[in-house]
């Protein structure tokens, strides 16, 4: 990695053998990394990986015990030493806008940071104007921070961190809890700002798919660095290929694959298998061999993404806990009665002249996994509250588990299971005590409760952990406990509100294994919200919410197909000067131009014509073009395209 040539200035950050413990518990141990000047360095890992401790230590706001941290060649080993570099540093702690002052306006927040950082009064106005214009917050300078949307809060946080023009910024999970459109916007603005001033950045994220935004990165898990380097180099650490296919019957196909290949999952109607050390053709052959006799469709190999690599790395380093086995049981579950689980018709909810949900209509069948995606404040939570009988609708009607939500809220509550994003269990009770409590709350007969608890514990892989305290469990397992509690009374419908937020990729896969089993085998209907677009692929149907309305409702494949028909082919443009190229391509009128790491994504009706056009435009300005490759659009592309189009439509009004 950092082979420092003589005369090169000291790196922005050099971390050696870093370790941090809280009381006796080690949060991070043995971390080495080096951030070069001018680069965007990423720390990627799930909650509890130790990212925040490392970032706080680097920012000089957390004392640590082991190892050393140097910034610009200055060793940070005391409060006084940390003070010496703080003027050259900007730090944004974790939490959406939590370090801002909610009662103050956008402008007052910025002014406070500027004065706190001793920005000369003469310069404040000019810097503020520029940053506000770039983040498009200039129309909202007088608005109190508490009334900003999630994405706007994040951008304001960035402005406040940059107002004193630091040489290094440390951003702790700036995109967590922000919707994909705002996330993309945030990254574009950040890249531009950093490039312009030559600012170095150390940024953490829990989203694996943001890896392409970084020049280099470290993958973290359980307080250790699994791998460091450029995204491509990290992927190369785990050679292998990913095979995707559709198989019928899916449950049996997955069972057969998992018997010999450890890294396989079902993604909606598709299966996704990582084959170690195999070239694409060989991998396809291996999978086909395992599935002889089943009906297979659309079998092909693709390149592994960083999440695949992360899981493979964990697997190779034997950091994966034993597999959760969710085997179907004969005669388990009630016979599916009424096939329609949820029927919503023009559901509307008003709050004091503000319409939170506007005529939402959709149907969920038993055995379906129905995803609900949308920005913060799009109305997802209000919709779920109405469907679960917590909030009466202002207008429209709905039937949940056969009960009318206007009259039978109580009956609905008895027939559904609900898991909220916030951990709603009793931390000081053991796993078994939590399960027993929920069994009693839902009135499961005492003689049946013991057996049922055993069943759900086995299903969710909690067997053997019954005596552990809920509060001591790792996040991923705690979420499985929450799911188990919601399942104790055999609900026919499950409502899950961001159940996997912050959970590591393996934990998320485990969670989805269980959900798929519930839906496919036990015919439970599942309604789930998520911010992870990669997870949305698991859903049988996906509803996209915007400003209280459902603006799309289709299977993921159909959504992508519709995007292709509407916007054209997705092209990935690789150049040596992506930002300059991006501006040119936008001017040239290409649709959906967005930066993806060092690559540019855009839409074009005809790939060939567009490729030629791109070549001409970039050659005219002397920008080197490495390649233009057609890519299958992801659900994130769908989401961003749709929402951006809607927002632009609103602005025109």
């Amino acid at each position: 990695m950092g082979e420092a040539a003589p005369l090169t200035p000291a790196p922005a950050v050099r971390v050696q053998g870093f370790g941090k413990r809280y009381r006796r518990q080690a949060a991070v141990a043995g971390v080495d990394l080096e951030v070069r000047r001018g680069e965007i360095y990423g720390l990627i890992g799930p909650d509890g990986a130790g990212k925040s401790s490392l970032m706080k230590a680097v920012a000089g706001v957390l004392a640590f015990e082991e190892g050393s941290i140097e910034m610009f060649g200055i060793r940070i080993d005391s409060e006084a030493a940390a003070e010496r570099v703080k003027g050259r540093l900007g730090f944004m702690p974790q939490g959406l806008g939590l370090n801002l002052y909610p009662e103050l306006s956008v402008e007052e927040n910025i002014d406070f940071f500027a004065r706190l950082r001793g920005v000369p009064a003469a310069e404040i106005a000019a810097r503020k104007a520029k940053l506000l214009a770039m983040t498009r917050l200039d129309r909202f300078t007088g608005r109190p921070m508490k009334h900003l949307s999630g994405g706007m809060k994040q951008k304001l946080g960035l402005v406040c961190t940059l107002i004193h023009e630091p040489e290094l910024i440390v951003l702790d999970e700036p995109t967590t809890g922000v919707d994909p459109v705002s996330r993309r916007d945030f990254w574009a603005i950040l890249a531009e700002l950093l490039r312009e001033k030559g600012i170095t950045a150390l940024i953490s994220t829990a989203y694996m798919d943001e890896a392409e935004r970084f020049h280099r990165l470290s993958l973290m898990h359980g307080g250790r660095v699994l791998a460091s380097g450029e995204p491509d180099a990290i992927r190369a650490r785990t050679p292998g290929s990913v095979v995707e296919l559709e198989a019928e019957p899916q449950v049996e196909a997955l069972d057969r694959i998992q018997a010999s290949l450890a890294q396989a999952e079902s993604v909606g109607p598709r299966l996704r298998v990582f084959v170690d050390d195999a070239a694409p053709e060989a991998a396809v052959g291996t999978v086909a061999g395992l599935l002889k006799g089943l009906s297979l469709r659309d079998l092909h190999a693709t390149t592994p993404d960083l999440e695949d690599a992360f899981v493979a790395l964990l697997r190779r380093q034997r950091l994966v806990e034993e597999r959760v086995v969710a085997k179907p049981r004969a005669g388990d579950g009630d016979p599916p009665g009424d096939d329609v689980a949820i029927l919503a018709k023009d559901l509307t909810r008003d709050f004091d002249g503000f319409r939170a949900v506007d005529r939402a209509s959709f149907t969920v069948h038993q055995g379906d996994i129905f995803g609900l995606v949308g920005a913060n404040g799009a109305g997802k939570t209000t919709l779920i509250k109405m469907l679960t009988g917590i909030l009466p609708p202002s207008d429209g009607e709905g039937r949940v588990a056969g009960a009318d939500m206007h009259f039978a809220a109580q009956a609905i509550k008895a027939r559904i299971g609900y898991t909220s994003q916030a951990f709603s269990l009793y931390q000081d009770l053991s796993v078994l005590e939590n399960l027993r409590l929920y069994a009693r709350i839902y009135g499961v007969a005492r003689h049946a409760a013991g057996e049922r608890i055993e069943q759900v514990a086995e299903l969710t892989g909690l067997t053997g952990r019954e005596r552990q305290l809920a509060g001591r469990l790792p996040l991923g397992i705690r979420q499985r406990l929450a799911l188990a509690c919601a399942l104790v009374h055999r609900p026919r419908i499950l409502f899950l509100d961001e159940p996997t937020s912050g959970v590591d990729p393996i934990g998320r896969r485990r969670f989805w294994d269980i959900l798929v089993h519930l839906a496919r085998v036990e015919q439970v209907a599942i309604l789930i919200t998520t911010h992870y677009m990669s997870e949305a692929e698991h859903c049988d149907r996906l509803a996209l919410m915007h400003a209280g309305r459902i603006v799309a409702d289709d299977p993921p494949a159909a959504l992508k197909q519709a995007l292709r028909e509407e916007a054209g082919e997705l092209l990935e443009v690789a150049t040596d000067r992506p930002l300059a190229a991006m501006a040119l391509l936008e001017q040239a009128g290409f649709a959906g131009v967005a930066l993806f790491g060092r690559h540019i994504h855009l839409f074009a009706r005809d790939a060939h014509t567009a490729t030629r056009e791109i070549q001409t435009i970039l050659a005219g300005r002397g920008i080197g073009l490495a390649s233009v490759t057609p890519r299958p659009p992801s659900l994130e592309d769908v989401f961003v395209y749709r929402i951006t189009a809607l927002e632009q439509g609103e602005q025109r009004l």
Partner: protein
């Protein structure tokens, strides 16, 4: 010290307080409300005790005896009832708190030189009230006995009634109350309340204000910037000290205006002492906020650190001088006692700097120590 940064911090803090209605109410409404609630509710005077009479004798002498209670300003006469049994329901639902039962043959016995027992029933649910009531009953009874004795002496020895009265009570007590001539408990209580409210409100505000930043994470803006520890503490707390000074003026106005407490001392000295005192109590809030992480914990800790010692060891309920040596020692550890002395001295006694400088100095030392400890405890690079 960079004054511009202190100003930036204080300015930001002030705007936050003003915009947050709940906080603003906490800052200005709650102290005045506490003063009003306690000032009217915590009157220690026992007057107008409702009572009833059972007179089994119905003689001239029994009427004379019971009229001494009926005519007293300490008792409110609610009527005669026929028997003791009728008293029970009246006492039970608190329509009366005291009853007097005159036995049959009261006059006959006394005239014959035999003693007579009068029963008095006192509601003992509030011991303080009950023991005060008992004192009144004993005093009225003693006066009646004295007159009976004087009348007997007058009749027996044929002296003038005045001379007989002097013979019956050879030692007489001459009482004059100083500083609070009418012995109005409101005066002392309103004065002590200024102390109590200024002990409770500023630490609450301060602790919530600082811990709020810890809880939300905005404290990291301070940690990560070049602002020094001293600048942060000064800028952050300036608005709270300012608010508390304004409150001390409001409380002073309430005490003198609404509760009619005279202010006889040196206004400048009292004002400066109040400034020192609120600086000190703000420091208590600061200390609490540095020890805990959540606003709830901050509130609990401030209650423990302020309300309990200032109620128990300030001289508000029990005079310091009548505490046991251990209690007196503890009282000297808390700032409340010193300011109680300053407030009582300034309001009621009319003394100033000359007599009270020691107390003011004690408060100043207390404030300095609190702020120094806080400064030492506050780190921009904490361990957790």
């Amino acid at each position: 010290m960079n004054l511009a940064r202190i100003a930036a911090l204080a300015h930001k803090e002030w705007r936050e307080i003003v915009r947050d209605r709940l906080f603003l109410a906490l800052a200005f409404v709650v102290p005045a409300a506490l003063m009003l609630v306690f000032g009217y509710g915590l009157s220690l005077d026992v007057e107008h005790i409702p009572f009833a009479v059972v007179d089994h004798d119905r003689s001239a002498l029994s009427r004379d005896y019971t009229h001494r209670f009926i005519d007293s300003r300490y008792f409110d006469y609610r009527g005669h009832v026929k028997s003791e049994r009728e008293l029970d329901p009246l006492l039970a639902d608190s329509r009366i708190r005291f009853a007097i039962v005159v036995p049959p043959k009261f006059e006959e016995n006394l005239m014959a030189g035999r003693p007579a027992a009068v029963q008095s029933l006192i509601d003992g649910t509030f011991p303080f009230r009950a023991s005060t009531s008992k004192g009144y009953v004993i005093a009225i009874n003693a006066a009646f006995n004295g007159e009976l004795l004087a009348a007997y002496i007058s009749r027996r020895f044929g002296v003038a009634p005045e001379r007989a009265a002097a013979l019956a009570q050879p030692v007489r007590v001459q009482l004059r109350y100083l500083y609070n001539q009418e012995l109005k408990s409101t005066w002392s209580i309103a004065t002590a309340l200024v102390m109590l409210v200024l002990m409770v409100a500023p630490p609450f505000l301060t602790a919530l204000g600082v811990v709020r930043e810890k809880e939300s994470g905005s404290i990291y803006n301070i940690y990560a910037s070049t602002v020094t520890r001293g600048e942060f503490l000064a800028g952050k707390l300036l608005p709270y000290v300012g608010i508390s000074i304004v409150n001390s003026l409001i409380l002073w106005a309430l005490a003198t205006g609404l509760f009619g407490v005279p202010f006889k001392g040196d206004p400048l000295f009292f004002f400066l002492s109040s400034v020192i005192y609120v600086t000190c109590t703000t420091g208590i809030g600061l200390l609490a906020s540095l020890i805990v992480r959540t606003q709830v914990a901050a509130m609990m800790l401030t209650v423990v650190m302020t309300i309990i010692p200032s109620v128990l060891y300030s001289g508000l309920l029990v005079p310091i001088a009548s505490m046991d040596p251990q209690g007196q020692f503890e009282a000297h550890l808390f700032p409340a006692m010193y300011f109680t002395d300053i407030a009582l001295g300034s309001f009621l006694k009319g003394v100033g700097l000359e007599q009270l400088w020691g107390k003011a100095l004690a408060l100043a030392i207390y404030a300095a120590v609190l702020w120094l400890i806080s400064f030492a405890l506050f780190h921009k690079r904490p361990r957790t």
